[in-house]
């Protein structure tokens, strides 16, 4: 009985304020899409960090006959020097930090080079002895690369020691800025959405002030009076958040999986599973936000 009455009041209110309701739906739709996109970007960043930091290694480049810098002086690293480097990696100060390391000789380096750049024109100029032999060192804790760099930089036969994470940092910075921008836009739009919901509910309460007045007079409880108004905002916001969820799923399905994943890049992208984690966040967030703003907006009408 009461539920039916409340729902019919909600339906009436939605129909009466149709233009405001449509604007609530659109604003929550857009703002929550941005929220979802920001969350997905953060997932993407974490996923890439995990992926790359797992692979990112400290490269100990050894001298070639063509290297001028470092400790090289255009002399190929001798096998004694290589053994010394390897010895350093195996023993005390460094070995506890290292998960594993591997040695890449000229032939392997050339093979990787060809794999990476394929039949590019420049491939013809590069010969195996042009590419340095390298110790690829994988650390237990990637943050401790400084120790390796310090220990090996001055070792004879070593050209340079590079922490490859530094190449990734700019990418993460860009992604972080993008996700912060999305959050910023989302926050602004959410403020607009909250104010719009509050205004709509006040309008709705104003257009029904006779009913509200009589309800208060005959002793309807505050909860009974306010529920239809709050539900009105929640229903509109829920429609918006369902649309936003659809947009997020579509984004992942068509853009990430259909476009980005179509060309093999070796970069792990967010999957549909991540999108399905975002959907409930967006829907519950939209409902809770609208319920709170509605409850605050209607409170003034319920002072007894």
């Amino acid at each position: 009985m009461r539920a039916g009455l409340v729902l019919s009041e909600v339906g009436q209110g939605l129909r009466r304020n149709i233009s405001m309701v449509v604007s609530i739906i659109l604003v929550t739709f857009i703002s929550l899409t941005f929220v979802g996109a920001a969350i997905l970007l953060q997932f993407q960043i974490n996923q890439m960090k995990g992926y790359w930091y797992d692979r990112a290694q400290v490269a100990v480049y050894l001298c070639t006959a063509y290297t001028e810098g470092g400790n090289c002086n255009e002399t190929e690293a001798t096998s004694q020097q290589k053994a010394d480097v390897e010895q350093a990696l195996k023993t005390a100060p460094l070995s506890p930090l290292i998960k594993h390391y591997e040695f890449e000789d000229h032939a392997q380096a050339f093979k990787h080079y060809q794999e990476q750049f394929g039949k590019d024109d420049s491939a013809g100029f590069v010969t195996p002895d042009f590419l340095p032999e390298t110790f690829w060192v994988n650390l237990k804790n990637p943050d401790q690369s400084d120790v390796v760099i310090e220990r090996l930089s001055n070792q004879p036969g070593v050209d340079d020691v590079v922490d490859q994470r530094k190449y990734l940092q700019p990418i993460f910075n860009v992604l972080n800025v993008a996700s912060l921008t999305a959050i910023g836009i989302a926050a602004l739009m959410l403020i607009a959405a909250v104010l719009l919901i509050a205004t709509t509910i006040r309008l709705s309460a104003f257009s029904r002030r006779r009913e509200v007045g009589i309800m208060r007079l005959v002793g309807a409880s505050n909860r009974f009076i306010q529920t239809p108004f709050i539900l009105e905002g929640v229903v509109a916001a829920l429609i918006g958040s369902v649309l936003a969820s659809g947009a997020i799923i579509a984004l992942v399905h068509f853009f990430v999986q259909g476009y980005l994943n179509a060309s093999p890049s070796g970069i792990p992208f967010v999957s549909m599973r991540d999108a399905l984690v975002v959907v409930p966040i967006v829907i519950v967030g939209g409902a809770v936000l609208s319920a709170i703003s509605g409850a605050v907006a209607i409170r003034r009408y319920l002072k007894v």
Binding site: M1, R2, L5, R210, E211, G213, I214, M215, R216, L217, V218, G219, A220, S221, N222, F224, I225, K303, V304
Partner: protein, 248 residues
């Protein structure tokens, strides 16, 4: 039923109190007229009983509740024991007679079966049994007021408050409304009615409480709109309270 003890009501931005140290007791089953000029405090009195306003000073007890101590969220449940009728009827224009009366029961969560029976019964009592499907604008003023009364009493309140219920009606219709109110009173409901209508008060021969400037100047059993006896009480000067400053 209703007891006022030294009740004062001050509104913000108005140094003159709407009610000033009012003492009054209304017993169960009484029919009390509140008379007095506009601005004398009649409406404030009713609003205080209804707990639409809170007292500034003093205590009000209604139906065993101290209204000063009544918590805000308990107010709706308190009001279910009161019925109210206004000069302007306050019906919902898009609802039928039946729906208007039923509305007040729906919103306090009564069952559909109960509502059907109670509304039919009360409409019969106020004499509108055949007009339950009409809309308010299809009814005369007197009939609209009967709907409002039906809505006020359908939940069988202990007290019925009426704020100039005949203010918009012609004398013949007013008499009909008064007959109805007397009948309700005879059923045991306490009635407090604010009015300007001298004829009604004089004919009814009920208790009359007269307010002037927020103070009770007369409380007469079987009184008239104007006092029959010499204005005795008027001579008793109101207690002087400098802070409230009622003297002109």
């Amino acid at each position: 039923m209703i007891r006022f003890e030294q009740v004062s009501k001050l509104y913000a931005r108005n140094s003159k109190p709407a009610l000033n140290k009012v003492d009054l007791e209304i017993l169960k089953g009484e029919f009390v007229f509140l008379v007095g000029a506009s601005g004398s405090g009649k409406s404030s009195f009713l609003r205080l009983v209804l707990r639409e306003e809170t007292v500034s000073q003093g205590q009000i007890h209604v139906l065993g509740q101290n209204l000063r101590k009544l918590r805000g969220r308990k107010v709706p449940y308190f009001r279910r024991n009161l019925g109210v009728v206004f000069q302007d009827f306050r019906l919902l224009p898009q609802k039928s007679v039946f729906e208007n009366v039923a509305f007040s029961l729906q919103v306090i969560g009564k069952s559909k079966a109960f509502i059907g029976g109670a509304v039919d019964e009360v409409l019969k009592m106020v004499g509108l049994a055949g007009k339950s499907t009409r809309l308010p604008h299809e009814l005369s003023g007197g009939e609209q007021q009967r709907v409002a009364i039906a809505r006020a009493i359908v939940n069988k309140p202990a007290i019925l408050l009426a704020d100039e219920p005949t203010g918009n009606l012609d004398p013949a219709t007013s008499a009909g409304i008064m007959t109805l109110l007397s009948r309700i009173n005879a059923g045991g409901t306490t009635i407090v009615m604010a009015t300007h209508d001298a004829g009604i008060v004089d004919r009814a021969k009920q208790r009359v409480v007269e307010l002037v400037g927020g103070q009770i100047v007369r409380d007469e059993r079987q009184g008239g709109y104007q006092t029959q006896s010499v204005p005795v009480k008027l001579q008793a000067p109101p207690p002087k309270v400098p802070t409230l400053g009622t003297e002109e």
